[in-house]
Symmetry: C2
Subunit: 530 residues, 2 copies
């Protein structure tokens, strides 16, 4: 584990640049190292994390084998329903499953055999090749919050999200050094017709960021639109041969996949694009109240859903996803940052490694209504277990508030600071001569201090992570500056960033092609709002 | 790792009750299990944690051996100063060290040879035997904040602490289920003369709590007073043969032990009481700016200081302590919750295990001035790494604010909720038939929900940790209740607890003996305020 700069340099991945992809954004070594140690800012981008530490594990071989055997029993005896999708049922029947109505029963080993074609790791390409990410192995990728219909805006109002908010979160994610991915539904722009908003959302990711992004999953034709737009951006042949979009395919737990998700999964898998098969679990409602029971059901659902993508197209990238929460047995509300979801995440990560699939869980989750101490405790607990579990793709890594109902600007800025800390934590301990610092210890000696010694002088700029949010000044100075709490400093920072945002360059012909496509698609159908 | 209730029952430890120790507080199994899953409340006490999971580690064998070799070099070539203590120097000379002035140089292996007499684990007895704690091995003990001269009171004022505040924090720690230890200087009662306040402080721990506690270290005679009072409480013979007080012996880093700390260490080691030898490190000031350099110096200082206790009395309990922080290279202020101190804590824990000593680090540390999101992020980051490192004794586990300058009532209540979550997390995953929940999965089946199923009904009361601070209600309900942030709920809870506090019973003769002793000692000297 002798340190090298390898984990930090991230030489980029995959094939060569092509139309629509810019060469911009290659990081110089010094800027990268500086960015790695600070909250950073626009332009100082970090590559995705390459972990050097072994994941923390909560189950031993005996426990894992027990859960795997139980999941096999669930798959065989209880089965999983694939609803309102005759094609899916036919595929399963052809594959040797026992299909009774919409209920599919899986002979022991069938799902795992099918999953042998799924890659353990793959590259999701960005239009800026320096922003492409590895998904799987020892890589960890942070993506923003996904799904909230509301925002907490910078005036402190809780209101429905708009396309303007959507673009703002894409811009902030583009600027954030420790966010490696532009995400998907960073908020739900409810001011745009429901059948057309996916066009504006996908375009925002393409135009206002150069990081990799997620596609629409709310209807098969919207998934088709996503793939069509990706072909305009990346070129048709490149999209046929590479993964450029990753997509959230939630199970309808317990033990159901519905028409909508199956439809989107089929479109993406056929196009060789990635699916994240995720049981969305509020334990006690969608799964048993116990950790082992939840893990059993999660494993069964993922094995069935992920194997389905391989029936559609062997070799299509697919992730083992787990959204773990529990519910308050008093109010029925979801709870976050508590011990049980952490145990589920750790255990699911172990099961995913054994299944040979990249893993998605966690984020910066909280049930708090505001960016207060509850939000921070819960988010930090979730994020620490997410990273230490060895999670490969971390959705909701920044901006999540109120159980996922709200995208918060302030929370987003606080969370990205935490993500920077996690990225620094995942670097190897420097055991070089400079890291050992024996010269410094000799130079300073007993009873003195290291503030001015030559080793400190040579290293202080990059020695410690520098938070963009924390106030570490004296009480007196903090008081003189207005006694600001963390969320107030985050508010200021979000405003500064949005004021200074500059869009990454995009080929004018490609932009025109995207705008034309969107206009034609919008014209082709009347507005729908439900 | 098949689950049993063993980790939770904590049958108590050590010898039989004696005068001054009460039999009160033995926990019923059901109450204990309930307490283990909730924020709990007065009376529902938890035994110290017995971890079942392997600690998370950040250094491999090669890295650890390198740091150990470097520490040996520091001990031999640079040496450690033992200042203003001729007896200490004489002891080292007799033991074979190379003493030049006040600088002690240690032949390779000397410190480790001396440390062979130090116990890897020991019991610290409480006057209530059910509250006695194991220190070492897979045990983790949470103790409150130590040292702040200021408090943030329940009216929101930041002011000097008083003996009334001191008693309040002792009472809250007594009531908190997830606090296993009464701690020491829970705040500095500056309204009591500096040469007498230790008497009131030690008495407060003895009278207002029945949990184990810490002794005075600010002067050798105050350490003697602590031991004398312990003998009144526990009986002289019991104290001679058992450890009843644990004491914080800070190194004056870099590489110095001073007269005050050496004086207290000698008193306690001679009395077979426990010392926590702790380099107090703000990296960049008291140690090199690098993780490996800091670990090297920490190891050298601890080996020298801990070995010294074995010179005084072979077999006296001693801990490997590490207080890890870094400093802002802009302002010089200490920073907390950042990646580098976490890496130091993880690494130091590994070094302590290899040295065969119980380990102390971490807590719920923050530089924030108020109980806001900064405080929570930083505390959660520190606490998560503290627990996952396998720390045995966790000082500052609750109430720490503003870099240790302030004891906060609100923060205390928020932190103990987090400690409860950590304690739940450390329990084994339940892999019993009930934990596997196959009956529940069969009963519910695809497309239904688990809210009303018989397995949920049978388990819901203890299934999930129930936070005492988090608000998980709907936005609408939260708004109707006044839009309270977490610290406001914590404030209410602290007031409720202090209103309902009831002192544990104490034998009237013992109380009289303690009061008499304190009165005589106070009369024997004039008040001093500096």
């Amino acid at each position: 584990m002798i340190a090298t700069a390898a984990a930090e340099t991230g030489e980029g991945t995959g094939d060569q640049p092509r139309r629509g992809r810019t060469g911009r954004g290659e990081r110089g070594g010094a800027a990268a190292r500086r960015a790695a140690r600070t909250g950073g800012g626009p332009g100082e981008q970090l590559t995705y994390i390459r972990r050097v530490l072994k994941p923390f594990e909560v189950l031993d071989e005996e426990g894992l084998a027990l859960i795997e055997a139980n999941a096999d029993t669930v798959l065989e005896e209880i089965g999983i329903e694939f609803r309102d999708d005759a094609e899916a049922l036919a595929l399963w029947k052809d594959a040797g499953a026992d299909v009774r109505g919409e209920r599919v029963h899986f002979p022991k080993g069938l799902c795992r055999t099918l999953l042998k074609t799924a890659p353990a790791t793959f590259t999701q390409h960005a239009r800026n090749p320096a922003r492409s990410v590895e998904i799987g192995g020892n890589a960890t990728v942070f993506a923003p919050v996904y799904g909230p219909p509301f925002v907490r805006d910078l005036e402190g109002n809780r209101r429905y999200a708009t396309i303007e908010d959507f673009r703002n979160f894409v811009k902030l994610a583009y600027m954030a050094p420790s966010i490696h991915h532009s995400g998907g539904t960073v908020c739900e722009p409810v001011d745009v017709p429901v059948n057309k908003r996916h066009l504006d959302m996908v375009f925002a990711h393409m135009r206002y960021s150069d990081k990799p992004f997620m596609g629409s999953v709310t209807a098969p034709e919207r998934a088709e639109d996503t793939v069509a737009m990706a072909k305009i951006l990346f070129g048709e042949e490149f999209v046929d041969n590479n993964t450029v979009v990753i997509n959230l395919i939630n199970a309808n737990s317990p033990m159901v996949f519905d028409e909508t998700m199956l439809g989107a999964a089929k479109v993406y898998a056929r196009a060789n694009q990635a699916c994240i098969v995720t049981p969305f679990i509020l334990a006690g409602a969608m799964s048993p109240v116990t950790v082992a029971g939840t893990l059993t059901q999660v494993l069964a659902e993922v094995l069935a859903g992920a194997a389905f993508t391989q029936l559609v197209r062997p070799g299509a990238p697919v992730l083992f996803g787990t959204f773990a929460s529990s519910i308050s047995m008093q109010s029925g509300a979801p709870t976050f940052g508590t011990p049980e979801p952490s145990l589920v995440s750790y255990g699911a990560a172990q099961l995913a490694r054994r299944a040979g699939l990249p893993f998605r869980t966690g984020g910066s989750l909280t049930g708090s209504k505001v960016a207060d101490a509850q939000a921070a405790y819960e988010s930090a607990n979730t994020l620490n277990s997410t990273v230490l579990a060895g999670t490969n793709f971390v959705l909701h890594a920044a901006g999540w508030l109120e159980g996922g109902l709200v995208s918060s600007y302030e929370k987003f800025m606080m969370d990205i600071d935490q993500l920077g800390m996690q990225q620094r934590f995942c670097q190897p301990v420097d055991l070089s001569e400079n890291g050992q610092a024996m010269d410094a210890i000799r130079e300073v000696g007993p009873g003195s201090h290291y503030l001015g010694c030559s080793h400190t002088q040579a290293n202080f700029q990059t020695a410690f992570y520098r938070s963009s949010i924390a106030d570490n000044n004296s009480y007196e100075q903090w008081a003189a500056e207005g006694e600001k709490a963390a969320h107030q400093r985050a508010n200021q920072l979000a405003r500064q960033w949005l004021e200074t945002y500059q869009a990454p360059p995009l080929d004018a012909g490609i932009e025109e092609g995207l705008v034309d496509f969107i206009a034609r698609r919008k014209e082709s159908m009347p507005d729908a709002f439900t």
